[in-house]
């Protein structure tokens, strides 16, 4: 049969097997056509396979960056009976991969599919910081005068490390499932190069993707994603340099504007805020039927969470020395704590899985 059997719109009871079968059905049509070979590595990778099992489908799904070039170029989209919609089915397979491979699965399922956990976690942490740890709502005393460095470290170290441990095990499961072998430096190098330039969103020739402008090409999503990714990395660099300052040099926060933590943090924060806002806007313009519809709302929440992390950080900096400083400190810390927990259990997982897929693709290419 070469007709679609799955309804992907919001049905949460679809099994992994059904998703893989539907993806295999569609990809086998693509493999007989191959017109889309020039768009991205997923289609070039597909030509390697004569048959498609769950492992191969997962690999191709995580290579796909949802640029949608293949959908708008496809002769077999609905109403054609072949009902090809590769961006949607692969987005669903990816989301299923994140849920299946990262434990505990109940937490992954809850956070991949529902908005409530994010709201509850943020509220919970606001309560923890304000009442549990006694940070005042209104005070110009921010940071270590409001909350001691040791308390901060004691709270955030496990919040940061534990989710990463679960993420690590999840990635190991994924790596085994796609048949990955021992990583070599050049695999990682190839993956870094691809991710650093977001080559998979280039449309193959730099013309961009077909995301918010549908049949027309645009590089807006590639740029927005780069702003988000590099903004995030700069924020991470800010925290890392501050840690080195604190423990290696004994220099305590707050730092001046021209210190590395501030330069990284403020630049990264602005980039992250602008990038996530742009991503959310582009998503609102794009056709939801070409993504993972059952997780659509949660994807907004995740982008929103990143936006709030950076924006509240900037606000904290802007209001430092005023009575609102500690208010923004509470809010900022609550969003960061929620974000840390969300890393393996939200859309954030995509970055790690995709990086793994790029490494695996580099292995398969050699």
């Amino acid at each position: 049969m070469q007709t679609q059997t799955l309804n992907l719109t919001g049905d949460s009871s679809i099994t992994s097997e059904a998703l893989h079968d539907e993806a295999a059905r569609q990809l086998s049509i693509c493999n007989s056509c191959r017109y889309c070979e020039g768009y991205c590595s997923a289609f070039q990778g597909l030509t390697r396979f004569r048959s498609l099992d769950a492992s191969r489908v997962s690999h191709l799904a995580n290579l796909c960056h949802n640029c949608r070039g293949c959908y708008y170029a496809c002769q077999y989209t609905e109403p054609h009976e072949f009902a090809i919609n590769i961006p949607a089915i692969l987005a669903n397979v990816r989301a299923d991969n994140w849920e299946q491979h990262i434990h505990p699965r109940w937490l992954a399922k809850a956070m991949q599919r529902q908005v409530a956990p994010y709201v509850l976690l943020t509220l919970f942490f606001i309560l923890v910081f304000s009442f549990g740890l006694g940070v005042p709502w209104l005070s110009d005393q921010a940071f270590y005068s409001a909350i001691s460095h040791n308390v901060l470290v004691a709270v955030f170290t496990p919040l940061f490390v534990l989710p990463l441990v679960f993420l690590g095990f999840g990635l190991r499961n994924y790596w085994r499932a796609v048949g990955g072998s021992t990583l070599r430096l050049k695999d990682v190098k190839a993956a870094v190069q691809s991710a650093a330039t977001m080559r998979q969103l280039s449309g193959g020739q730099g013309q961009g993707c077909n995301y918010e402008k549908k049949e027309r090409y645009s590089s807006a999503r590639r740029w927005s994603h780069q702003l988000t990714m590099y903004g995030f990395l700069l924020c991470f660099a800010s925290t890392s340099t501050a840690t080195v300052y604190h423990y290696v040099f004994g220099w305590e926060a707050p730092y001046s504007l021209f210190s590395l933590p501030k330069l990284f943090g403020v630049t990264g924060g602005v980039m992250l805020s602008v990038g996530t806002a742009a991503l959310a806007y582009l998503k609102s313009q794009a056709d939801p039927a070409l993504g993972s519809q059952s997780r659509g709302a949660v994807e907004y929440v995740f982008v929103g969470l990143l936006f709030m992390v950076s924006t509240t950080g900037l606000l904290l900096y802007f209001f430092s020395g005023t009575a609102l400083a500690s208010f923004w400190l509470i809010i900022h810390l609550a969003f960061i704590a929620t974000f840390f927990i969300a890393v393996p259990y939200s859309k954030m997982a995509h970055g790690f899985f995709r990086f793994a897929a790029l490494c695996r693709e580099a292995q398969l290419q050699r």
């Binding site: 004569r50 077999y76 009976e81």
Partner: protein, 482 residues
Amino acid sequence: MVSPVTSIAYDRNLMTPGVGDVIADVLVVGGGNAALCAAISAAQAGARVCLLERSPKTYRGGNSRHVRNFRCAHTGDLGVLSGDYELDEFYDDLVRVTKGNTDEAMAKSVINDSAECYDWMIEQGVLFQPALSGTLSLSRTNAFFLGGGKALVNTYYQRCEDLGVDIHYNATVLDVHIEDGFADGVLVDFDGQQTYVRAKALVFASGGYESNKEWLARHWGDKAINFLIRGTPYNRGEVLKCLLDSGADSIGDPTQCHAVAIDGRAPEYDGGIVTRLDCVPFSVVLNADGQRFYDEGEDVWPKRYAIWGRLVAAQPNQIGYCIIDSQSKDLFMPSVFPADEANTLSELFGTLGLPVDEALETVEQFNDACRPGTFQSNDLDGLSTEGLSPEKTNWARPIVKPPFYGYVLKPGVTFTYLGVNVDANSRVSFNEKRSENVWAAGEIVAGNILGEGYLAGFGMTIGTVFSRKAGQQAGAYANTNA
């Protein structure tokens, strides 16, 4: 499901020549590659252009949705094309496939203009890619569209929108009013609303009649019911018929269509490229009586798939059964539908609905006629049968290693040859006189150059070259007859 398209009834009294609004300087009938190139060229010449596409937006583009490349002459590297493909070599290729059934002057002019088209296409925003995997033999001669024909069509529609072309979908031309080769206007069904519209110049790029099974049946009889149509269900040839009825001179064999052998499980319409089946050279092909009927290994498949359309059409029920064993399973491009599979030949023949005893005997005779030798899938290996009729002259290897696989073959119609006669500027002639304001382009004029046979990517060359001329000339005509 892609359903067959049916004719729309209309009232001839709605035709009011000489009366009514002129909706455009240039009216383009059709919505595929040629129509779009004509519309863009006319708009670039400064004309107000209206384009009527019969299909809904999702199916816009006619058979151009399914194309993948453009055959192009060039000296030295040209974009994605490497090396040289000189005019003479191009023309020789054309003469070979058409067996000389072409118009030399017109063919040479198209070939000559093809290189310039490549640059023009780039200017319109068309993106090319190197030859796809599995088509490397075309990397020197054919420029592939990134994403294929639908991406090309999308680019051209965007270009039309940017140039202000007035585009209508679900707009079916029902009748034309042309007297002594002068067109006044056409009766159009705009999504159910029938209106007579006029224009100063008309370009017809509305395709052939291959998806009109009643018309095919006039020449092929009941067999036509079993034909699969590889492309759009909207090419019903009704506009072509109107033109011929209005006195346009016809060209091309009215009884012939270009048909290839494709996967018999393909949809009746619009299966496109994926329905090809490349396993014939490594198989034995049986008809519904369990008998072989032609040399499966006569030549490499790209040189033979076109004749197999007719071969299968001549068999009972217009069907063929392609049988291979596990040794040959991975020697060809993956098929879109999985093969029927069985551990014994008799079980496989049962599944396929073949007369088991006859089919077994045929394969047994074939196996006995195979000789030892070296099997080479990529070349003519000369491994032929001995004392069999018909012989298999290459890749004759006994079908013995289970599991066994069976594919169904049916004739897949690509296009029809009948069209209207045009001059080198794509202007239509009526009763052997050049029309003042009617041009035609695309499949509807392909018969001026392709008397028979086909050359991969040449339909797009003809379509692009002629339609640009048609558009430019129609635009210029409209400008000077304000």
